[in-house]
Subunit: 254 residues, 2 copies
Amino acid sequence: MPTKTRDQGVPAAYNPSEFPAFAVTVDIVILTMLKSRLHVLFVRRGVAPFEGKWAIPGGFKRPNETLDQAAKRELSEETGVDSASLLKQFGAYGDPGRDPRMNVVTVAYLAVLLDVGAVVAGTDAAAAALLPVSEALTGKLDLAFDHARIVRDAVERVRVDLEQTGIATAFVGPTFTVAELRAVYEAVWGVHLDGANFRRRVVTESGWVIPTGRRARPGVAGGKPAELFRAGRLWQQGGPIRHPQSPERGKGNQ
Amino acid sequence: MPTKTRDQGVPAAYNPSEFPAFAVTVDIVILTMLKSRLHVLFVRRGVAPFEGKWAIPGGFKRPNETLDQAAKRELSEETGVDSASLLKQFGAYGDPGRDPRMNVVTVAYLAVLLDVGAVVAGTDAAAAALLPVSEALTGKLDLAFDHARIVRDAVERVRVDLEQTGIATAFVGPTFTVAELRAVYEAVWGVHLDGANFRRRVVTESGWVIPTGRRARPGVAGGKPAELFRAGRLWQQGGPIRHPQSPERGKGNQ
DNA sequence: CCAAAAGTGTTATGTCTACACCCATGA
DNA sequence: TCATGGGTGTAGACATAACACTTTTGG
């Protein structure tokens, strides 16, 4: 009785106008490191609904492009950044009423950028801003649509991907110090990691980071100049660092 | 220059008909264990396009329901199963031309069921079938739309989630033996796991499995009767078993 | 008694963590 | 020479994997 003969629900005499029409958008959560904290790019809405509230960038998908292409195009249009260094889909949102004007299903993407600061600086300060994720997650910001939920899901995804993928390298430049890389993990996970053990993990076994021979200039307070590395190929398969409380899963509970 | 004032691309004088209309569907990859192998539920298409080819179940999203609700409804309509024991979204697909009739964006869900065998048995054999994932992944099956890709992504997701979530328990019944649970890992990952070490991992520290006091009947060839357990609460946070080659990431390569 | 499958014990090996210690720089 | 951060060494705690061994059933 259950399994009906399957044709995507389309009757033999097919007529597109009989089926509910949706607008499909792509929205992009753009993340970047700023002052050792994780930040999100928001733009200020200029029209109703949600006029004056913060929203993440996005726009309509066109029929002749893929979802990935739409995300890349929107990223380019909104920030001028063409290098889709890291742009990955992480969820779809289609609750009724999420857009009061019409039925909209949005496909959410996550992007990690380095030079967003310059983008924002070259913009009307009221129109775009980099804000700490902590403020978005704690509800301090008044966000448009269901963007609070989308940002929350994006950050959760980054926390997981930090362990599972090479996303950490997207937060640092083409060359970087071990301390810079460690700062990414500490900011995203909100933990402290032992510098000595962290270094061993990434530099001891070759493939994670490749020495460039150059050194970074120490800060104003001095200190030994740090070695500069570039990312190795091992990041394509996953990350070298595990989240602290991750391995001791289920010790003596009950 | 880049960041444009943002309003989802909708001009001030808004008119819905100016924006591309899409049909939105949900498609469900239904997985189950059968004879110690991972299987997918396919239904045979009765009409063009792709008439006669295998497809995964799915259907149109309605404007007044969420995506999750649409998936649950479709699962119920196609299999008669109401217990959304495990139903999670894992991707959206919107390539132009993926449906030759119209612009369709589909949101894909993953479901793990136990009693699909009964569902298929009560159906016209030509209309539905459980087929091994290996056949779908190797391209032996001729699948409709982009369903080959969707199934591939679903299986990849399960392989990862086996380590990160409690999805393994969805493949076994309300009570199960340690060997049954181990068979899930071995089938999904395609590896052999040491029975002794596996058992220690799940039964030693309480919280993973809870003894029921009952025992399973041995097979025809005899053997010690296995203890029956039910799943504990620790599975809500992740799984106890790690994929073998996972920890030794990046040994001595180069 | 034998085969088969469940379950326990043991041990070498590997990994992680914490922390002591040394190095190179700016002021 | 002192403060600061980069970088190395090391020992104990802990986790892993391999496999020998015991237990309990059906035939």
